[in-house]
Symmetry: T
Subunit: 147 residues, 12 copies
Amino acid sequence: MSSILVINGPNLNLLGSREPGVYGTTTLEDIERLCAETAGRCGLQVACFQSNHEGAIIDAIHDARDRHRAIVINPGAYTHTSVAIRDAIAGVGLPAIEVHLSNIHARERFRHHSHIAPVAVGQITGLGPKGYVLAIEALADIINKGG
Amino acid sequence: MSSILVINGPNLNLLGSREPGVYGTTTLEDIERLCAETAGRCGLQVACFQSNHEGAIIDAIHDARDRHRAIVINPGAYTHTSVAIRDAIAGVGLPAIEVHLSNIHARERFRHHSHIAPVAVGQITGLGPKGYVLAIEALADIINKGG
Amino acid sequence: MSSILVINGPNLNLLGSREPGVYGTTTLEDIERLCAETAGRCGLQVACFQSNHEGAIIDAIHDARDRHRAIVINPGAYTHTSVAIRDAIAGVGLPAIEVHLSNIHARERFRHHSHIAPVAVGQITGLGPKGYVLAIEALADIINKGG
Amino acid sequence: MSSILVINGPNLNLLGSREPGVYGTTTLEDIERLCAETAGRCGLQVACFQSNHEGAIIDAIHDARDRHRAIVINPGAYTHTSVAIRDAIAGVGLPAIEVHLSNIHARERFRHHSHIAPVAVGQITGLGPKGYVLAIEALADIINKGG
Amino acid sequence: MSSILVINGPNLNLLGSREPGVYGTTTLEDIERLCAETAGRCGLQVACFQSNHEGAIIDAIHDARDRHRAIVINPGAYTHTSVAIRDAIAGVGLPAIEVHLSNIHARERFRHHSHIAPVAVGQITGLGPKGYVLAIEALADIINKGG
Amino acid sequence: MSSILVINGPNLNLLGSREPGVYGTTTLEDIERLCAETAGRCGLQVACFQSNHEGAIIDAIHDARDRHRAIVINPGAYTHTSVAIRDAIAGVGLPAIEVHLSNIHARERFRHHSHIAPVAVGQITGLGPKGYVLAIEALADIINKGG
Amino acid sequence: MSSILVINGPNLNLLGSREPGVYGTTTLEDIERLCAETAGRCGLQVACFQSNHEGAIIDAIHDARDRHRAIVINPGAYTHTSVAIRDAIAGVGLPAIEVHLSNIHARERFRHHSHIAPVAVGQITGLGPKGYVLAIEALADIINKGG
Amino acid sequence: MSSILVINGPNLNLLGSREPGVYGTTTLEDIERLCAETAGRCGLQVACFQSNHEGAIIDAIHDARDRHRAIVINPGAYTHTSVAIRDAIAGVGLPAIEVHLSNIHARERFRHHSHIAPVAVGQITGLGPKGYVLAIEALADIINKGG
Amino acid sequence: MSSILVINGPNLNLLGSREPGVYGTTTLEDIERLCAETAGRCGLQVACFQSNHEGAIIDAIHDARDRHRAIVINPGAYTHTSVAIRDAIAGVGLPAIEVHLSNIHARERFRHHSHIAPVAVGQITGLGPKGYVLAIEALADIINKGG
Amino acid sequence: MSSILVINGPNLNLLGSREPGVYGTTTLEDIERLCAETAGRCGLQVACFQSNHEGAIIDAIHDARDRHRAIVINPGAYTHTSVAIRDAIAGVGLPAIEVHLSNIHARERFRHHSHIAPVAVGQITGLGPKGYVLAIEALADIINKGG
Amino acid sequence: MSSILVINGPNLNLLGSREPGVYGTTTLEDIERLCAETAGRCGLQVACFQSNHEGAIIDAIHDARDRHRAIVINPGAYTHTSVAIRDAIAGVGLPAIEVHLSNIHARERFRHHSHIAPVAVGQITGLGPKGYVLAIEALADIINKGG
Amino acid sequence: MSSILVINGPNLNLLGSREPGVYGTTTLEDIERLCAETAGRCGLQVACFQSNHEGAIIDAIHDARDRHRAIVINPGAYTHTSVAIRDAIAGVGLPAIEVHLSNIHARERFRHHSHIAPVAVGQITGLGPKGYVLAIEALADIINKGG
């Protein structure tokens, strides 16, 4: 069964456990469970990975080459600063969709630019946890067409 | 039954009828049919509108206030040049999702910036016609929560 | 009797009819009535025009050449994006005053620059509907001096 | 007989009828007559179109696909602001030459950049009505080579 | 009786006394008399202050807190360079309208930006001495509403 | 006994006397008293100076050469606009520490840059009146080492 | 007893052990001892952490949530490049003071901007090891007020 | 008989002799012959000059003052870097038309700007060798009108 | 006998009295004496004025209208920040030459731009006290021609 | 025997194992073997290190101080984003040469700038694996001269 | 007897022989004669050189090393584009003064910046032929002090 | 036997003959001898060319087409200003390596950008005369592979 790697970048481990009034009570675990359910509905498996380390995210992308068919990535703040993650995604050649919980285009100017998006298939922003669901659905289509 | 307005901006009427080797054979009509099917599946109606006129798109957004619960908009080239469409969306106060068939972040630099995105709920780019499907699914969630 | 054309640009038709808590209850009709009263007090006539279409505003400016002695224009969002309206005003050669209800210099950076102002006689911003009153008074002076 | 569409953008309808001391006494009609004569000399037909509406110009470009072999376009102020007209020209795939009566490179800085030129065959500026004549002659060559 | 402080910044003391062919024969005294008349008509008093010293203008703004209800300010060249005057106006919390005799948006690029405007109620430019009249009328409205 | 000059720039005389809900109730006098106490504790004297005049601040810095061993300066808005104060500090050669009550790096972009900081020993921002205390303690160390 | 986390970023482990003629002979251990002494004097504990890894610094900030009341951070070169550390500090919500041994505003232009400062309470630069002492004193005040 | 100087700048001597698959087989000699034919048809003479030396091109422009009535110039790469050639053309006061074989507006960004165009009558780009023909025709008109 | 006003701006009073190893031992008094000698040699009088206050310099320029025929000004740091001094010089209409002791074009980037130079007759930089001598000689020529 | 540390940054572990048609079949191991051979030929030893972690690369540079005489570094994507690696190299004071397999100056604009190069001895780009050979030869010269 | 080289750059050979109403009737020969007279008065010789070729000017600067003691240079348009002339002047180490007939700071923006000035002793602009006289007088002083 | 052209640009003829304390005592002749030795070792011939004239360098590149197999070029200051040399190298299609004696990335900002590098095979900077040796070795490899 085909598998997708879901990568969450820096600070996303804080989700839900703090300031629920602001960020809602959805935790990273909730999002990962949602991803697993969506993938199951699409006949896919998911593996989930979170790290605050740019290098660890790159390592995970490299490892995905032989284990996964596609990548969902919320690069968090590395979206705006990491050329290395961009090169990793371009290097392994797996289709990737970039997801952001918030609408980065409505936030500070330095969050408008993504180093990752130009090498991704596409980008989904502002739709909260639903963005992960939609990304997996879209990748399922791509995997099925490619299959 | 709640209804969503799907707006397609300039040059999207050309889709599919020309250079199928480049843009695929999906026509605007195909996309509009796909939107109707998706909406039906979500218990929603859609109305579809395409225009090459910035003013006509603004008029359509104004008219949507009393007729629709949400907007899917692919503003085409007006994404990058129209503050007036931005103000129209902000003015009517309906939740809107911006969709682009291509990955605008991977194209010319002047296509990276969206005047519309900061007043939209979110943006979906690069996923082809599937982007419209995902946008309607996400708006269905928002309408249901709000309902 | 000399006449002034009052042009309101995109989204100004929404005034007052929505979100009165935010924008007040003054409607576009109220502003147009205020313009007529002011003009009457100054011995002038006014014609009022609103459109969300850049091209229609240009057409109206062209038509003003033989019918009006001056122009009050609130170009709305086209202030920041329309070189064509600028050229229309410069082309017909009528004295024009640019009016904005809000203080555009206190809003987002992209609203600070006006393409229109350099070819207008002057600009009045931030004074609400009163700005139209003052613009008509100032144009009455100019018409009288010129007469 | 092959046909060329000559498009004139915003404010070009004002030509000649106003400030003849500044702009000369050549009217838009004179230019269109000159285009017809030149085309006839080259064994071509021309259709002429002028509009102040960006959307109407896009519609006209779309319509040209099945009726014309090439386009001469003086986009006026839309030269500097319209990505949508650019995309229309690129979309229909007809060879187009951009013409400007004045030397835009000698005017205000914001008139130096053309959104249209990168998708046109070429650009002719500063040569007055003669620019249209030269553009038609050049397109006649291209049509003949392509024929 | 409510009072308004009219502040004129650097070089405005030169008005009228030099190059009447260029700047007209209106002197600063004429403008101040015009302000007094307008204020009288509106049931207000004015105090007039001119200085070429940034610090003296700040001192005057501070002093206005307990003596005046509103400020008309033509900051002259300090418009473009003084963050300190901006902070003074924001600090005392009186409603202020920025006036410029000339249309600063039609002059050199460095005159387009105002440090003061974002903390003022609004800005009136290009209307000559009439701009002061209009500013006082507008402040009269604000004072009366606030009263 | 060694002495330090404490300079407060434009608008800092407004502190505490207005909008206590926003700025707190600490007045400039409170801060100057705090400076005196801190200096006393460090075996130093302080002289305090406040002015809204850039030139007066420069004069004060020049006068400090023969009377003081170090300078604490909160240049207020002149931080961002005064090359002349910068040159004065560099010219007299006394060690200076720049202090800001608020965190200027979290405010408007034009407040992030300091003309003064490059010629100061260092900068303390965002710590309220405590910033003056810390600056004096740090200068005490420097004076003692230099002594 | 309340505790403060002192974080030192990349290359600060090199302090003192190399080029003592340039950087002085103060080592990181000296600074950490100075922090402990200062904290003790203020009735606080400190934990000290140094890493050259951006991710490890983020992990340490996350861990601080339940163990410390405040953070002193010298982010070294990550000051200028790490949005992720900024988001970590904003995310855990602890008051943080940014410290730099050198006066970053007097060095290369790219060292003038801090990603961290806008989410910190304040910034202390250029005061050498004393900066840490002052930061702890300031945080002690904040903790005591907050307590 | 009136004469025109045709100047070709750096690297244009390489035309046609290399990479015919890319640049076509038209040589500089072919272009110069085409210019002579066109001029003959217009009752004019041409002199042709090519150099890779900026200084030699300036010398040639100076020499043209007493020998020629107009200039056709393809400045090649000096278009983008030579203020000196610009000043030479402005200095001799002959009408000049700038020609480029390729569409410089569709190439690298640094090729979009011309130092020469602002002092030329106009610019023709992207029309290949035909551009020279059109330039000579346009100059013939100008010479005849001036004659 | 015609008279010239020599204005020295902020910090120039420090000259020579401090750091003679760096700035030389020439004092402001020496420069003023040199100016007087040069003027005498040219049959002119000089008045010398120094101030650290921007406003006082503007006042002095205004006063010069009726007393002097020309101005030599070393605006010091106000060169780079004062639009108000620029407007004062333009306003009084006296020929002015800007002098700088050091070569401002070889110093920090922010010292390269002069607000004053565009309204001066010319600028002399980098020639030390000799620059004042040359400026007076040049103004003597201008006064004599104008006389 | 003197030793050189060869550092390869993020994604360079992917070399050769993927897309041989694009990147060739040279693997990182091949490059490291080539380095060893070259070093041997020059009478030097090499140690090779690759990591995708910025922090690990900094650690390795620190460790090199006591073990190696020079550094060859291909910082990969960190070239463009890592001030921390720059500071590490400057901090340890070993001569370093920056190597890139591809010609970064011919790639995307954001790859033209190197944070590392200003603190390196020099930079070699575009010469493929040969670049490492040349860097070692150059460092051998430097070590021998220094020896 | 010490000698000075006077270099005039591109287009300065056109002086006086054309458009005397605009540029005056002073020719390059007049300026060179003026230079010779001034030099004679100062006990110096001059050699004069004019070229439109950047390379020839560099050659002349190199040749000056063994023949001249100082350089007066009006680099014309090369002021703004030639790093090579800058490096030549820095390379030969002779004191040089840059002269411009017109006030380049009052002309187009691209003429404000000089590549040469940072390596010259100073710059004299806007004083017409007198600028050469003053430059020679200043260099005479420098030569005499150095002698 | 294959041959390489070694081009040295402006001011490189000054090497070694001046300021040996700064630039070393290596002359251009030494570098050219080193190039010949290296080439001989690689079984290649070299021809060496130096000029201060941009046009002469372009001529030399053109002439190299039929005589040489590759180019080593140190364009000196033309690196940063010459699009024409770039186009010459691209035009002749020979593999070229750009060499700089100094580390241009560590010098003034305007020396960081190379117009030439994007069309070269690669760039070697900062390695002194050794850079020429390495460039020839690398080109020998390329020639041998190509042969």
